[in-house]
């Protein structure tokens, strides 16, 4: 292998490499720094995300191509996903500092966070089954640990174990699927999938179903969504916000690449994804209805949001806007999720619904962030959630899944009920006690996330235009 090629490949993943390096630096710092200075690791991590963001810029501009012998894509979709992931990671870092202040293993936490983000980034760019498996593993392995990070908290431990057990099963299933697909395609890169032998039908169906199990686990879709509410409730709050959003970004992009690579004639993947979308959004919504725990509610609502996002996946290849819809959905969903968990973080983990009355009186900004986040989830204009839903409905109709759009509409109406169930006391009831917060830093990134919902909603054009140019595999 010529050295020049290797160097060129390295340059292609310079942003990812910077995150690897940043993680190592954070680790070394954490090992060296005194206990009082552990929070400094956060600043290094933050700087790492900034550097990686800067290094991602070229990939947003240059035309996309495959690298590492076809195992990795350096294209717009991956770059956009990387930007979303890095920004979300940065927000999570800022939220984590006050949250973990008393934790003695404060430092290496950021290494794990960075590597988890890296997993999502690699997943977004993966174009081979090997890279899929290993990126999934990186994302999951760090995710399990992050969920368990409150080592004195039984809820955290329980959430992590369940996350792990479900993930291990899904992964195991996926490996069998990957093995079969490899055999059918004669290689691991995705570009071999369209050439599956025509006799492969049943084998391919089983194989794809097994791979789907793994991908659905990552995006939090039915039937392996069960970890989502548990992690939302049990994991450390900033981590919950992170885990419900960031891995999903990578997994959705990979899912898009994957289904687009499948031979559409032999496999009814679009219908399968559509059914999965319907089931996911409905189940998530129904389970949300009577939640009295705000974090758990957010978890279930994340499930239902995944269902909406899957609508775009189902429409891939049948609608020219499907990829735009998918990416825009991620842009709308991630900050909404972060803002909501940011509010919970800022309010010191306050999670019982009964603790929320009168929030608007005491903390206008936090209440507004929560309201914006929820309204965006509902899809109220001019928030980005609305544009996302508009696009999702449009692509579903265009792809011939009008029933799915109607289904989603009905679900949206149902969802109003539980979002309003939280918002109504926040705005209409009087506070019973003074609510303390974690401080201005957490509040400000929360508000910034919420503001992003407004900004990306009103000024959607640059995003939509960029996404329209970003179709993976082209």
């Amino acid at each position: 292998m010529p050295v020049a090629t290797m160097a060129g490949w390295a340059a292609d993943v310079i942003a990812e490499l910077s995150v690897v390096a940043g993680g190592v630096v954070v680790l070394l710092y954490a090992l060296a720094a005194r206990r009082g200075r552990q929070a400094g690791a956060a600043w290094i991590a933050l700087a790492t995300t900034a550097v990686a963001l800067a290094l991602t810029v070229p990939a947003l501009i240059e035309p996309g191509r495959l690298t590492f012998a076809g195992t990795y894509a350096r294209d717009h979709a991956a770059a956009i996903a990387r930007v979303i992931v890095l920004l979300a990671t940065a927000v999570t870092i800022v939220l984590s500092v006050p949250w973990f202040r008393r934790d003695p293993r404060h430092g290496e936490y950021y290494t794990l966070l960075l590597y988890s983000a890296l997993g999502a980034m690699l997943l977004a760019g993966a174009t081979s089954l090997s890279e899929l498996v290993v990126a999934m593993l990186l994302s999951s392995a760090t995710g399990f640990v992050l969920a368990a990070y409150h080592r004195r908290s039984s809820a955290s431990a329980e959430a992590a174990i369940k996350y792990y057990l479900v993930g291990a099963l899904a992964n195991g299933a996926m490996l069998m699927g990957v093995a079969l697909l490899y055999g059918l395609a004669g290689g691991t890169t995705l570009d071999r999938l369209p050439g599956l032998p025509p006799t492969a039908g049943p084998v391919a169906a089983v194989a794809v179903a097994l791979v789907m199990a793994g991908l659905m686990f990552k995006v939090g879709g039915v039937p392996v969504h069960v970890w989502v509410p548990d992690v939302a409730q049990g994991a450390p709050v900033p981590v919950a916000g992170f885990l419900l959003a960031v891995p999903k970004v990578g997994a959705f992009v990979f899912l898009a690449r994957f289904v687009l690579a499948l031979p559409a004639q032999e496999l009814g993947w679009a219908a399968m994804v559509a059914v999965g979308a319907a089931a996911t959004m409905t189940l998530g919504n129904l389970a949300c209805l009577w939640q009295d725990d705000v974090r758990r509610l957010l978890g279930w609502s994340a499930v239902s949001q995944t269902g909406y996002g899957l609508m775009a996946v189902a429409a891939l290849g049948r609608s020219d806007l499907a990829m735009v819809a998918l990416l825009y959905f991620l842009v709308a969903y991630v900050p909404g999720n972060l803002a909501a968990f940011g509010v919970v973080t800022t309010l010191r983990g306050r999670t019982a619904l009964a603790d929320y009355p009168g929030l608007a009186d005491q903390h206008r900004a936090e209440a507004a962030a929560l309201a914006l986040s929820f309204l965006s989830f509902i899809g109220v204009p001019p928030l980005s959630g609305f544009v996302a839903k508009l696009l999702l409905f449009a692509v579903a109709i265009q792809a011939g899944f009008a029933w799915l759009a109607v289904f989603a509409a009905v679900n949206t109406v149902i969802s109003i009920f539980y979002y309003v169930r939280v918002l109504a006391p926040v705005y209409f009831a009087a506070a019973t006690a003074r609510m303390r917060t974690l401080g201005a830093a957490a509040a400000s990134v929360t508000v910034a996330s919420a503001a992003a919902l407004v900004i990306t909603g009103v000024l959607a054009q640059p995003l939509v235009a960029a996404f329209a140019a970003a179709a993976p595999g082209r």
Partner: protein, 498 residues
């Protein structure tokens, strides 16, 4: 200029929302009322100027357009014609009056005025929007603002009513969204531009797709209007909302539905509308008679007025059904019906808006809406009585007042196209007369119960504001030419009147 009419109140709302709550202007309800009223009047003034510049030519005028999401064919497009101009101006007026109208602020003046102004900008924007996307944005946002107004300043079971309102009308907005998307996807190239879509008529071929789009629009607008049997969100929302919010809900928000029927559904799918016009007319007549009869049985002042809205919106739909019907040779009658329906939208906004403000004042003084507990208030509250009576007579369609101008045109038009239905619908005006006279008799006439010996009359501010509405109702009733001329500039070409 139209943009200013939309965004001055919205920006002012944001500015007010950011005011500190316990210092300065934020702590002074009186000062805020003055400021907010002044801001609320801005769209009214701007639209009055726009009206002066309006030249009566067909098509959209004074269009202001900026690309918004060109990739998706979305632009910020506003403009007006003979249909939207009166409605937008009426919106400005009703809001100005409602903002200035005294109400129990529950110690949250900042939020109240911010929401009211925000809602004003949004509502004006909806009537001026020439882009389906923009239209829907305003449509949905208005629901949210109204939800908070009812929930936070309502009374009774306000939160439940607000939720029901929000859920129900949002449920209506989603079929609307799907239908808009259906139109968008059918247009080639894909666009949300109303003028372009109306020109293209992308769904002219009919078929199941067009039928589904029609159904989506219809459900969305029918819920908002509301047409019976989609009206059940209306009474609780009205009863529990604060007076000015009710006035806006009835005066402005309901018009969004009827306006949508004309602006979008009838314009985009005229053939289908013509096919279904008889059925729609039947539905309208049911709304008319049903709304009137149910209102007749009410003992709650506000519920009574709320049901008359169902009745009046039935007139509007009847007019629209007639206007869109396939009746060769009756273009003049159809134009008359469309003009009448539009006047009814404006008139209902002023009249019912005024009546809801009145009911707010009655509640503030008597603490209940129960008709039977009142009586003989004429002796104590003269201006309240006279203003209410005037508005009530306007609502029951007395000539010389705005309601008559609207209803007579609707009936005349309907009679030319659907004589039998029109005659059934006419029964509605007798029932309406009965229920309003009964209401006036119960509340203001008869013996004065002892508990109301000290019932205070309207304050000068209330009387003045209601006077403005009543004066306009009278003006339209006596000299409607200026309004009818403007509307006819739209209605004539719309029905293809030679």
């Amino acid at each position: 200029m139209l943009t200013a009419a939309i965004f001055v109140p919205i920006l002012a709302a944001l500015a007010i929302a950011l005011l500190p709550r316990h210092r300065g202007l934020g702590a002074s309800p009186r000062g805020l009322t003055v400021v907010a009223t002044a801001v609320a009047a801005v769209p009214l003034v701007l639209l009055a100027v726009a009206w002066l510049r309006f030249d009566g030519a067909p098509g959209f005028q004074q269009v202001e357009a900026v690309p918004w999401i060109p990739t998706l064919g979305i632009a910020y497009r506003v403009g007006l014609d003979g249909l939207s101009l009166p409605l937008a101006a009426m919106t400005g007026l009703v809001f100005t009056v409602a903002v200035a109208y005294p109400v129990d602020l529950r110690g949250r003046p900042v939020a109240y005025f911010a929401l009211m102004l925000f809602l004003e900008g949004v509502s004006v924007g909806l009537f001026l929007a020439l882009d389906l996307f923009l239209f829907f944005v305003f449509w949905d946002v208005s629901l949210v603002a109204m939800y908070f107004l009812i929930g936070a300043w309502g009374h009774g079971d306000a939160q439940r009513s607000a939720l029901k309102f929000f859920l129900y009308t949002f449920a209506g907005s989603l079929p609307l969204l799907l239908a808009i998307l259906g139109v968008y996807l059918a247009a080639e190239p894909h666009t949300f531009d109303m003028a372009e879509i109306i020109r293209q008529q992308p769904l002219a071929g009919g078929g199941i797709y067009a039928a589904l789009v029609f159904a989506g629009f219809f459900i969305g607008f029918a819920i908002k209007t509301p047409i019976a049997p989609f009206h059940t969100w209306l009474p609780p929302a009205h009863v529990d909302a604060p007076g000015p919010a009710s006035a806006i809900l009835a005066g402005v928000l309901l018009k969004m539905g009827t306006y949508g029927f004309v602006r979008i559904l009838m314009s985009v799918l005229p053939d289908l509308w013509a096919q279904l016009a008889p059925a729609l007319a039947v539905l309208a007549v049911i709304s008319i008679v049903y709304g009137a009869l149910v209102a007749l049985a009410q003992t709650n002042l506000k519920r009574l007025i709320a049901y008359t809205s169902v009745n009046h919106m039935g007139y509007v739909i009847l007019g629209l059904a007639v206007a869109g019907a396939a009746a060769p040779g009756q273009e003049a009658a159809r134009a008359l019906a469309l003009t009448g329906a539009t006047v009814e939208m404006v008139a209902h906004g002023l009249i019912t808006g005024g009546l809801f403000l009145v009911s707010g004042s009655v509640l503030a003084r008597g603490g209940t809406y129960d008709l039977e507990t009142y009586g003989g208030l004429l002796g104590r509250a003269r201006s309240l009585t006279w203003l209410t009576a005037l508005l009530a007579f306007a609502s029951l369609g007395l000539p010389g007042l705005a309601g008559f101008v609207a209803e007579v045109q609707i009936f005349v038009g309907a009679l030319a196209v659907y004589p039998a239905l029109a005659i059934v619908a006419l029964l509605g005006i007798v029932v309406t007369a009965g229920l309003f006279l009964r209401m006036l008799g119960r509340v203001f006439l008869g013996a004065l119960p002892d508990r109301w010996r000290e019932f205070p009359d309207l304050g000068r501010r209330e009387a003045g504001l209601l006077g403005v509405l009543a004066g306009l109702v009278l003006l339209i009733g006596v000299v409607p030419g200026w309004l009818l001329g403007t509307i006819d500039a739209f209605a004539g070409p719309f029905v293809g009147r030679p």
